[in-house]
C-alpha cells in the first residue's frame, strides 16, 4: 500500500477517534459535561493522539530502517567474485537497486508480468534491453548475481511493505482501542493531552540542537574519511591547491584561506568606515526625517539576496574596476578579482555594520554625552572621545560578526573572485595584488561538490574538510562576537 494512503487512513482513524472518544466520555457521565474531569474535546484529542503518534512514529522508523536492513541482507548475496575490477560493493548495490526499480517500472507499465519479473534469468533474456524499453537506462550488462540480488531485493521490499502496513495499522488500532478503554468521566484527559503537547513542543525546540549535531557529525564523518586518504599535515600546512581527479592532487587549505581572508579584509575596509560613519551620522546628527528615509534605504541592502550582489560584481563592478583601475595601472586584466569581490561584499556588509553599531551607539547613556558637552567639547569631540570609546567593545563585536559573514559568503565570490587559487611560488607581488583573480574556501566547496562527484575520492571529500574548517572559524568568530556584545550590553543596563 502506498505510504500516502497509509497516512490518510491513520488520519481518518484519528478523526473518527476524536468523535468517538468525545461521545464516549459524554456518555460515561450521562451526557452531563460538568461531571467530566476535562472538557469533552480533550477526551477526543486524547484518542486522536493515541492513534497518530505511535502509528506515524512507527511508520517513519520503519521507512528509515527498512532500506538499510534489506541492503545489508542483499549485499550478502553478492559473491566476492561478482564485483568487477575497480568497482566497490556500493557501486554494485546501486546497480542492484536500479535493476529492482526497473523491474518495478516494467511491471507497472505492463511490459512484464509479475511472474516474469521475479523469474527471468540473464541466461535467457537480455535484461538490459528489456529495461531500456521501459526507460531505465543501465550502464552495463546485468550479471546473473546482480539480477538475482535485484529480484531478492524486490521480494524483500514487497514483504517489508506488507509487514509495515500491517504493523502500522495495528499500532493505530491498538492506540484507538486502548485509549477508548480508559476514556471515562474520571480520566484526567486534559493533563494527558497537555503533557503530550508539551513533549511535542520540546521536540520542536530540540531540532536546533539536532541541526547543529547533524552539521558537525556529517562533516566530521566525511572529514575523517578524507584524512584517511590524505595527510592532514599537507592539508593544513601545504602551500599548493591543485586538485586532479586522476589522483596525485595537492589539496592544501592555505592558498584558499589566503584568498578568503584577503577578500574579507577588503570587504571590511569598505564596510567598516562607511557603516560606522553612517551609524554615527544617523544616531548623532541626523534629524528624524533624514533618519526615517536613509536608515530603511541602507537596510534594503541587507535584504537583497547575495546572488544579486554576485551578478552586480560580475557585470558591473568587475568590468568597471578592470577598465578604470587595473588596466591603466597595469595590474591585471581580469574582471573577476579580489578587489571586485571585496568591494561588492563590502557593500553587502554596510547595513550589517551600520545597524549593529547604531544600536550600540544608541545604548551609550545620554548622561555621558551631556557631561562631555558640559565641559565644552564639540559634538564631534564628544563622539570621538566619549561615545565611540564607550561603544568600542560593541563595535568590535559588530565588526567580528561582519567578518564572519564575509568569510562564509559564497555567491559573491563564486561570481566575482575567480576560480584560480593563490599561488605562493609566484612571489609576493601576485599574492597581494588586489586585481588578481583569487579563489576562496567557499568557492572550492561549491566547485568540488557540484557536478558528478565520487564520494570516495579525496578531491570530493576535501570539500567536507574545508566546510568543517569554515564552520569552526565562523563559529569561533560568532561566539567571540556575541560574548563581547553581551558583556558590553550588561555594562550599561
Amino acid at each position: 500500500m502506498p505510504t500516502l494512503w497509509l497516512v490518510l487512513i491513520i488520519l481518518a482513524l484519528a478523526a473518527v477517534g476524536y468523535v468517538v472518544g468525545r461521545q464516549r466520555a459524554l456518555a460515561s457521565s450521562g451526557g452531563n459535561a460538568k461531571l467530566l474531569h476535562s472538557l469533552p474535546s480533550y477526551y477526543g484529542a486524547n484518542v486522536s493522539f493515541a492513534v497518530i503518534i505511535p502509528a506515524i512514529g512507527l511508520l517513519i522508523l520503519w521507512l528509515l530502517v527498512q532500506p538499510a536492513w534489506i541492503q545489508n541482507r542483499v549485499a550478502d548475496m553478492i559473491p566476492e567474485g561478482a564485483i568487477p575490477e575497480g568497482a566497490t560493493l556500493g557501486l554494485v548495490m546501486s546497480d542492484v537497486e536500479r535493476v529492482a526499480t526497473g523491474l518495478n517500472l516494467a511491471v507497472e507499465q505492463g511490459a512484464m508480468s509479475e511472474e516474469d519479473a521475479s523469474s527471468i534469468r540473464t541466461e535467457f533474456t537480455d535484461v538490459r534491453q528489456r529495461l531500456g524499453e521501459v526507460g531505465v537506462a543501465l550502464g552495463s550488462n546485468v550479471d546473473a548475481p546482480v539480477l538475482r540480488a535485484a529480484q531478492r531485493y524486490r521480494e524483500m521490499s514487497a514483504t517489508g511493505n506488507t509487514w509495515m502496513t500491517v504493523a502500522v495499522l495495528a499500532a493505530a488500532l491498538f492506540g484507538f482501542v486502548s485509549s477508548l478503554a480508559v476514556t471515562k468521566a474520571g480520566f484526567r484527559a486534559r493533563n494527558t493531552v497537555e503533557r503530550v503537547i508539551l513533549i511535542m513542543l520540546m521536540v520542536a525546540a530540540s531540532i536546533a540542537v539536532l541541526t547543529t549535531l547533524g552539521i558537525v557529525l556529517s562533516m566530521l564523518f566525511e572529514t575523517r574519511n578524507f584524512f584517511q586518504q590524505y595527510p592532514w599535515t599537507s592539508f593544513f600546512f601545504g602551500l599548493e591547491w591543485a586538485p586532479d581527479f586522476r589522483g596525485n592532487s595537492n589539496l592544501s587549505i592555505i592558498p584558499l584561506l589566503w584568498g578568503t581572508l584577503y577578500i574579507s579584509f577588503i570587504a571590511l575596509l569598505v564596510a567598516v568606515p562607511i557603516g560606522l560613519f553612517a551609524a554615527i551620522y544617523m544616531s548623532e546628527y541626523a534629524g528624524p526625517r533624514v533618519r526615517s528615509v536613509a536608515k530603511p534605504l541602507i537596510e534594503i541592502l541587507a535584504g537583497i539576496p547575495t546572488i544579486v550582489y554576485g551578478l552586480f560584481a560580475l557585470i558591473t563592478v568587475g568590468p568597471l574596476l578592470r577598465d578604470y583601475f587595473a588596466m591603466p595601472m597595469g595590474l591585471g586584466e581580469s574582471a573577476s578579482s579580489v578587489a571586485t569581490a571585496g568591494v561588492v561584499m563590502g557593500i553587502m556588509l554596510i547595513p550589517f555594520v551600520s545597524s549593529l553599531s547604531d544600536d550600540i551607539i544608541n545604548a551609550v547613556p545620554q548622561a555621558m554625552r551631556d557631561g562631555s558637552f558640559g565641559l565644552g567639547a564639540t559634538h564631534s569631540e564628544t563622539i570621538r572621545q566619549v561615545v565611540v570609546p564607550a561603544a568600542l567593545p560593541g563595535i568590535v563585536g559588530a565588526i567580528l560578526l561582519a567578518a564572519s559573514r564575509a568569510i562564509g559568503e559564497t555567491m559573491i565570490v563564486v561570481l566575482g573572485a575567480g576560480a584560480a587559487a593563490a599561488q605562493f611560488d609566484r612571489g609576493l607581488g601576485e599574492l597581494v595584488n588586489p586585481f588578481e583573480a583569487m579563489t576562496t574556501v567557499t568557492v572550492k566547496i561549491v566547485s568540488q561538490l557540484t557536478g558528478d562527484t565520487d564520494f570516495a575520492a579525496p578531491e570530493t571529500l576535501v570539500a567536507f574538510a574545508l566546510g568543517l574548517t569554515l564552520f569552526v572559524i565562523t563559529l569561533g568568530l560568532n561566539v567571540l562576537a556575541l560574548y563581547i556584545v553581551r558583556k558590553y550590553r550588561e555594562q550599561y543596563e
Partner: protein, 449 residues
C-alpha cells in the same frame, strides 16, 4: 566605564581680542566638527549610492529580457513531407524529426522575402534569423493538431538571439562582422522585415512561463521551471518551518525551565542564525541525499535545507512577538482557571499571530533568495521538464529562481546576461511583494500595549 585619556591640557593664556571673533583654535575645532559631519554624510550617501547603482545596473541590463523579437511567417505544411502515410496518425507523424521541419521555415522565410520584394546580397539561408527553437515549436504544434497538415498556417517564431540582440541594440553591425553567428546582411534583412511589420518586438510572456533552454538558444530560455521549483520549496518551508518554529518558540518562551538543556538550545539557535549558508548545503548533501537517499535536485531537499536555515529567523521573530504580549493577559487567563497550555494557545498565541506571520514572511523572503546551499544539492542541473503537481512534484527535479540566475551567468552567449538580470528583476519583484505584505500586516495588526 571607559577610560578617557586625559591629554596634557595646557591652561590657555587669557584671551585677547573680541569674544565675537573666533580664534585659531576654535576655528580649527569647528572645521574638524564640519569635517566629521561631512564624513557621516558622505558615508550615508555612499551607502545609498551603492543601492542605486545596484538597482540601476540590474534594471538597465535586465529590463530588455521582458521584450522579445518575434517573426510572423506563413508556413506551408506539405503532406508528403510531414505525413508520408497520409493517415494523420500521430505516432507515425512523430517519425519526422525537427530536422524535417527546419527547411519548411526557411522556405516560408524565402517566400515572405520574395513577397515583400526585399533583395539583399550574401544573405545565405534567410531561415537562419529564426530561432533554432522554431522547428521544435512547429513540430509540437503539428503533432498536437494533425489536421493542419496540408494547409498553410500563420505562425509566430522567436527570432534568433543575435537578431533579438540587434533589436535591443546589444548587437551592432560592427560586432556582427566579428561574429560568425550573424552577418550584416542578416541585420539588413531584419531592418527590412521590421519595416514591413513581419518582425516585431513584444512583451515576452514566455520568459516567465517557458522552461530553460540550452546554451545555443538564449531567446527561448524562460523561468517557468525555476518559478515552480521555488514555489514548491517555499511551500515545503512554510509547511515545516512555521509549525516547528512556533512550537519551539512557545516552548522556549513559555515553558522551558532554566537549565543546561534550555541554555544549549538557546546558544544553538543564536549560532545557527550565523552559520554560513553553504554549510547548510553540505548538511543537505550529506544527510538528505547521501544518507536518507532523497533524490538530487528535488524541491523537497531544497525545502528541507531552507527550512533549517529559516528556523532561527522564525524562532527569533516569534519569541519577540510572544514576549511583547503583556503578562496581564496571561495572568487574567490563569486567574479564571485556564491551564498554562490553554492560556498560551487560546490567548497569547492569537495575540502574537501578526508578529509571527510577519517574521515568517521575512524568513520566507530570505529563503527565496538563498543560492549557495541549493548549488550543492544538485539544483544546478539543466531541467526542462516541469515537475508534476504536488505531492509527487516535490520529488521531481526542478530548478530555483536564484540558481537559474547562477546557471545563466555560467553560459557563454552574452544574451544570457540579459536573461540573468531579468530573472533577478523577477526575484526582486517577488521579494518586494513579500516584504510589502509583511510591512502591511505589521501596520494593520500590530498592537502597542
Amino acid at each position: 566605564m571607559s577610560d578617557i585619556t586625559a591629554t596634557d591640557a595646557v591652561p590657555s593664556a587669557p584671551r585677547k581680542g573680541s569674544l565675537l571673533e573666533q580664534d585659531a583654535r576654535t576655528k580649527r575645532r569647528n572645521a574638524a566638527e564640519t569635517r566629521f559631519k561631512m564624513y557621516g554624510i558622505i558615508a550615508v550617501t555612499l551607502g545609498i549610492l551603492a543601492l542605486v547603482m545596484l538597482v540601476v545596473s540590474i534594471v538597465s541590463n535586465g529590463a530588455s529580457a521582458f521584450q522579445q523579437t518575434y517573426i510572423t511567417l506563413e508556413v506551408d505544411l506539405p503532406e508528403d513531407r510531414l505525413d508520408p502515410e497520409g493517415n494523420r496518425n500521430r505516432d507515425q507523424m512523430a517519425r519526422v524529426s525537427t530536422f524535417g521541419y527546419g527547411p519548411l521555415i526557411g522556405e516560408a522565410m524565402e517566400a515572405q522575402i520574395a513577397a515583400l520584394g526585399i533583395e539583399i546580397e550574401e544573405l545565405g539561408n534567410p531561415g537562419d534569423i529564426v530561432s533554432k527553437e522554431a522547428p521544435a515549436q512547429l513540430r509540437n504544434f503539428v503533432l498536437a493538431n494533425p489536421d493542419v497538415v496540408g494547409s498553410t498556417v500563420t505562425f509566430e517564431f522567436l527570432a534568433n538571439g543575435r537578431i533579438d540582440g540587434y533589436m535591443k541594440d546589444r548587437v551592432t553591425r560592427a560586432t556582427a562582422l566579428l561574429d560568425k553567428n550573424v552577418s550584416p546582411a542578416q541585420l539588413d534583412l531584419t531592418d527590412a522585415l521590421g519595416e514591413a511589420g513581419v518582425l516585431e518586438k513584444r512583451f515576452n510572456w514566455a520568459f516567465i512561463t517557458a522552461p530553460d533552454a540550452s546554451g545555443q538558444r538564449p531567446e527561448a530560455a524562460g523561468l517557468g521551471v525555476a518559478i515552480v521549483g521555488s514555489f514548491y520549496m517555499m511551500l515545503v518551508v512554510l509547511i515545516l518551518a512555521l509549525p516547528i518554529g512556533v512550537a519551539a518558540s512557545i516552548y522556549l518562551e513559555e515553558f522551558a525551565p532554566k537549565n543546561r538543556f534550555t541554555d544549549l538550545i538557546e546558544v544553538n539557535i543564536a549560532n545557527l542564525a550565523a552559520v554560513p549558508s553553504i554549510v547548510f548545503g553540505i548538511l543537505g548533501l550529506a544527510i538528505f541525499i547521501n544518507f536518507a537517499g532523497l533524490p538530487q535536485s528535488a524541491p523537497i531537499v531544497g525545502g528541507l535545507v531552507l527550512t533549517l536555515m529559516t528556523l532561527p529567523t522564525i524562532i527569533i521573530a516569534t519569541r519577540a512577538s510572544l514576549k511583547s504580549v503583556p503578562p496581564s493577559i496571561r495572568e487574567a487567563a490563569l486567574g479564571v482557571g485556564a491551564s498554562k497550555m490553554q492560556t498560551v494557545f487560546h490567548h497569547v498565541l492569537p495575540l502574537a499571530a501578526p508578529g509571527i506571520l510577519t517574521g515568517t514572511i521575512i524568513g520566507l523572503a530570505q529563503a527565496l533568495g538563498e543560492t549557495a546551499p541549493l548549488l550543492l544539492i544538485g539544483m544546478v542541473a539543466f531541467v526542462r521538464e516541469f515537475p508534476a503537481g504536488p505531492p509527487e512534484g516535490f520529488f521531481d527535479p526542478a530548478s530555483a529562481l536564484p540558481v537559474q540566475v547562477y546557471n545563466w551567468t555560467q553560459r557563454s552567449d552574452p544574451a544570457f546576461v540579459e536573461r540573468a538580470s531579468g530573472a533577478i528583476i523577477v526575484l526582486l519583484i517577488f521579494l518586494v511583494i513579500m516584504n510589502a505584505i509583511a510591512i502591511l500586516l505589521r501596520r494593520r495588526f500590530e498592537r502597542r500595549w
